[in-house]
């Protein structure tokens, strides 16, 4: 066999150009095939990730009104960035974003962690799954629909929230706590600059707490029963078991969930957009978040160049916030201290 093989090789080398070409195309094919297999990813990545990113960098140094067509693009250097950074609305929107991120972010976790702990340690499998699924519903419901419902709940004159407060102020025991209600009616949840942000934050908390409960339940389920037993033998009551054993054990889950909250909350858009009826961020721009501002600049004012610049500023902002979080909590959060 091997003798015939080498003979054929010898012949092939002798009859040079055609065979060499064939061999070249063969090795080329061999090298191309792997690329062919990964090409779907590469094509999608180039089209939908790399190109838009580079295009937005390009855009951010041009002035462009998309309605006037591609030819209207005009190079302006860093003017978009300069202009944006001097716009008070940008700073207002960044302030609102951070405020909302903190006020709507922190309670999500402060609520979700104990609830998940109680669900996991206090309930049997079936009932726990039911409650967890129930609390997950807000997360999978359309944000726009949720915001619309809250819009009607918050309505100053006919909203159920104000009606409930009025009702409570009439009830025997509660009236003591709610006697102030009739004096301040109607409470303008969405049309006063003081109440708008808290009202938005409530919706965000309502929507995302369930998701965090699911994450933390998964976390608490990883803590073995032996550890709780050991803690009980060591003299821990239920609170101490939670504080000294369960909570440190789910640190990686807290880290993960907080990271998602930071990234998500700094991009808050739909809730404030719907609750302010798309009216330039609501009263005194109290509900104007960074993404909302980005939307206004791009699609209301049709300044695509500035919008691109803002998106890069927002990106930088989120990247810094996340890095700070990683820097301070990363080692313990990723469980590298174990």
């Amino acid at each position: 066999m091997s003798i015939t093989g080498s003979q054929i090789d010898g012949v092939a080398v002798a009859t040079a150009p055609a065979a060499r070409k064939r061999r070249l195309s063969k090795s080329l094919k061999k090298r191309l095939i792997p690329w062919l297999f990964i090409s779907p990813f590469i094509i999608l990545f180039l089209t939908f990730t790399l190109f838009p990113m580079l295009f937005s960098v390009y855009l951010s140094v041009h002035e462009w009104n998309p309605v006037a067509g591609l030819s209207s693009m005009e190079y302006v250097g860093l003017a978009n960035y300069q202009l944006t950074l001097t716009d008070p609305w940008l700073w207002q929107s960044l302030y609102n974003t951070v405020w909302l991120a903190v006020v709507s972010g922190v309670p999500q976790h402060l609520l979700a962690i104990p609830v998940a702990y109680l669900l996991v340690t206090g309930l049997r499998g079936g009932l726990r799954h039911f409650y967890t699924a129930f609390m997950f519903i807000p997360y999978i419901t359309s944000t726009v629909a949720v915001s619309l419902i809250f819009f009607s709940i918050y309505s100053a004159n006919s909203g159920i929230l104000n009606q409930m407060l009025l009702g409570l102020s009439d009830m025997p025991v509660f009236s003591w706590f709610f006697s102030w209600v009739p004096d301040v009616m109607p409470i303008r949840w969405l049309t006063s600059s003081d109440l708008l942000k808290p009202s938005i934050a409530m919706v965000v908390i309502w929507k995302y707490t369930g998701f965090n409960i699911v994450v933390y339940s998964a976390g608490f389920l990883t803590v073995s029963r032996d550890l709780y037993d050991a803690a009980r033998v060591d003299g821990c009551n239920r609170w101490q078991q939670f504080w000294h054993v369960a909570l440190p054990m789910i640190r990686p889950f807290v880290f993960f969930a907080v990271t998602l909250t930071i990234i998500g909350n700094l991009q808050l858009f739909e809730e404030p957009f719907v609750l302010t009826q798309a009216q330039s961020g609501g009263v005194a721009q109290a509900g104007l978040t960074a993404s909302y501002y980005l939307y206004l600049v791009g699609w209301q004012w049709l300044e695509m160049g500035s919008a691109a610049a803002i998106s890069w500023i927002l990106f930088l902002f989120i990247a810094i916030a996340t890095s700070v979080h990683f820097y301070f909590n990363g080692r313990k959060g990723l469980g590298e201290d174990r």
Binding site: D226, D229, V233, G235, V245, M249, R251, R338
Partner: protein
């Protein structure tokens, strides 16, 4: 320090009754081993003692007081878990001092006591490590240290050595024994390994199917097993059981084996009634050779020879049964050879038929 007592202790999980009425008294400072096959309820019993599980009926007494309604914290017991259950996020020192910290002891005292215990267990150089950075044996010692540092009334051990390799197991066994001589606290030690139980304990409790089968010193259990289960469980290699027919008069018991050979033994009060019985012969009590003047001579064919160095383990067909024989004299024998063996009449055990390990 305190003794422990169980009074008609019962435990059911749903319809399944795991512990069926246990009575036991453990003296102050005693080392009691609880042995039984896997799943017989040893861990359950220990968890009830610790207060981690509630008994269905009966009483648990520690130091003479009924503690049924006390939490683990109030019982002042320490427990070493099979999985060690060390807190992964705490250092060795923090693991060991955790109980003291929860009991709000001053920092300086915690540090001193942890240090002292670490010295006893040779853990000083590991105090700053996390459990994940320790070997199995080291983790085991930390788990012991965590229990020791508290100075508890009672120590509970749940198969503490079962996750170690054979060599380390023997080493830790010795260490635990030495520790008990130093710290004479009441210890209840659960294991499924009868050798561990025999070597460590003052008294051994044999548990099977939720019932205490026998309580006694290792020697008592070995010499006078109460039933075939205990007899088969204690001793290694395990006792041989041969079915036979018992015929006894006032001072001799005469057993006819399946192949017609006959053994005699002095009649003892704990022997069952005449009829079908199980004859128990320990492998180390079956001697090769004719013996002298004894009527308990048997012959059989050698089926297997297993040299272990100091002894040879032989499988010999005796009385119609394949029987293990330990030969300490390393006699030259061959596979398939017919050999004569003899048994001292005093070493013959007779049990009711039909219940072995």
């Amino acid at each position: 320090m305190a003794g422990v007592e169980l009074r008609n202790l019962r435990k059911s999980f749903g319809k399944v009754e795991v512990l069926k009425g246990l009575d036991l008294k453990v003296e102050d400072g005693e080392f009691v081993a609880l042995v039984g096959p896997s799943g017989c309820g040893k861990s359950t019993l220990l968890r009830i003692l610790a207060g981690l599980e509630e008994e269905t009926a009966g009483d648990v007494l520690i130091g003479g007081e009924v503690v049924n309604d006390l939490s683990p914290r109030e019982r002042n017991i320490a427990m070493v878990f099979q999985s060690y259950a060390l807190y992964p996020h705490m250092t060795v020192a923090e693991n060991m001092g955790f109980n003291l910290k929860i009991s709000s002891k001053p920092k300086a005292e915690i540090k001193a006591r942890v240090q002292e215990t670490a010295e006893i267990l040779d853990l000083v150089h590991l105090l700053d490590r996390k459990p994940s950075q320790l070997s199995g044996g080291q983790r085991q010692r930390v788990a012991m240290g965590r229990a020791l540092v508290r100075n508890p009334d009672v120590f509970l051990f749940d198969e503490p050595l079962s996750n170690l390799d054979a060599k380390l197991r023997v080493q830790m066994r010795e260490e635990i024994k030495r520790l008990h001589h130093k710290v004479r606290t009441t210890k209840i030690y659960v294991t499924h390994d009868q050798i561990e139980a025999m070597t460590l304990a003052d008294r051994v409790v044999i548990l099977d199917r939720g019932i205490i089968q026998q309580v006694g010193t290792p020697t008592e259990l070995y010499r006078n097993p109460a039933n075939a289960f205990v007899a088969g469980f204690i001793g290694s290699p395990a006792m041989n059981f041969l079915p036979g027919m018992l015929q006894s008069d006032s001072d001799t018991a005469r057993i006819e084996l399946e192949d017609g050979s006959v053994l005699t033994a002095p009649r003892k009060p704990n022997h069952p009634r005449d009829g079908k019985v199980l004859l128990g012969l320990r492998p180390e009590h079956i001697m090769l050779g004719e013996g002298t003047g004894t009527s308990n001579a048997l012959t059989g064919r050698i089926d297997l020879i297993e040299p272990t160095g100091a002894q040879n383990h032989l499988r010999i067909k005796l009385g119609g049964q394949s029987t293990t024989v330990v030969d300490n004299n390393l006699t030259e024998v061959e596979l398939g050879q017919n050999v004569a063996v003899h048994v001292d009449p005093d070493k013959i055990h007779i049990f009711e038929a039909g219940n072995t390990a």
